[in-house]
């Protein structure tokens, strides 16, 4: 399942989405998190120490390529399974959550 949080800047999305993530993880769900913002705010809101949060790795652009689907629509094709990408490029957050910084992804290479 994928759950996205949206809203105007400053509305409290990051605090709420991160706290929802921690709560569900404590209730035994397998939780992964993606920070779609360019600042590492979700890492901090999840409880990763600030000095670690600023050092977090970026997702390399080579993990995906652009392609065209049978209907002619442009699509992004991941070259690895999402769970593998979280495993390889994610970082550990409290309560067993795995976090990816999605916003620092470079543009996917052309297919």
């Amino acid at each position: 399942m994928q759950v996205s949080f949206a809203g105007k800047g400053g509305s409290g999305k990051t605090t709420i989405s991160a706290t929802v993530a921690r709560t569900l993880a404590r209730r035994g769900y397998t939780v992964r998190a993606i920070d779609g913002d360019s600042n590492p705010n979700m890492a901090i809101a999840l409880g990763i120490p600030a000095h670690e949060a600023i050092e977090l790795a970026v997702l390399p652009k080579e993990i995906a390529r652009r392609d065209v689907d049978p209907e002619g629509k442009r699509v992004t094709v991941l070259l690895k399974e999402p769970s593998d990408l979280f495993e390889e490029f994610g970082v550990d957050a409290p309560d067993g959550i795995r976090l990816l910084l999605g916003s620092r992804v470079g543009h996917a290479g052309s297919g």
């Binding site: 399942m1 994928q2 759950v3 996205s4 949080f5 949206a6 809203g7 105007k8 400053g10 509305s11 409290g12 999305k13 990051t14 605090t15 709420i16 989405s17 991160a18 706290t19 929802v20 993530a21 921690r22 709560t23 569900l24 404590r26 209730r27 035994g28 769900y29 397998t30 939780v31 992964r32 998190a33 993606i34 920070d35 779609g36 913002d37 360019s38 705010n41 979700m42 901090i44 809101a45 999840l46 409880g47 997702l59 993990i63 995906a64 652009r66 629509k73 699509v75 992004t76 991941l78 399974e81 999402p82 769970s83 979280f86 409290p94 990816l100 999605g102 916003s103 992804v105 996917a108």
Partner: protein, 166 residues
Amino acid sequence: MRGIIGELKAAEGITIIDMEAGLELFGRGTPGASDLLAIVIEPSLWSIQTATRIIDLARELGIPKLIAVANKIREEADVEWIREALRPQDVEVVGVVPYDTDVSLADRKMGSLLDVAPESAAACAIAELAGVIAREVGAAPTAPEASGGNGKAGDDGCPWVVDAYR
């Protein structure tokens, strides 16, 4: 085209995306694969206007479930204002998070609300919201709930910063 973020949907478990503020990622189709979109709204006109536009864009992307979360609430009238504003678009406010200075405290300490103020009204309300979201998407825990921690979902409800709101 959803971009890389939108394609990161694991086969099991729950993937939570904290989207960049505003509308741009909707234009790119990023949350298009989401099973549920939670729209966080403060009691302000600009926040409500942004939310109504988000709802339109989310519906265009075909996201099956849209819910609203009223945040930084000080009085019931704030919640009613938000509910009424979303009624024409048929989106329900399923979570109400009170204005809570412990959230600011967690921000200043650069820590998680659950670590800095686990007994706060906001933490309690967000824990309730977490349960609602899990039910809405029909997810099941992978492992039994560990004892301890703040996974509680008490029947006596959450304390409010403003006692008048019940």
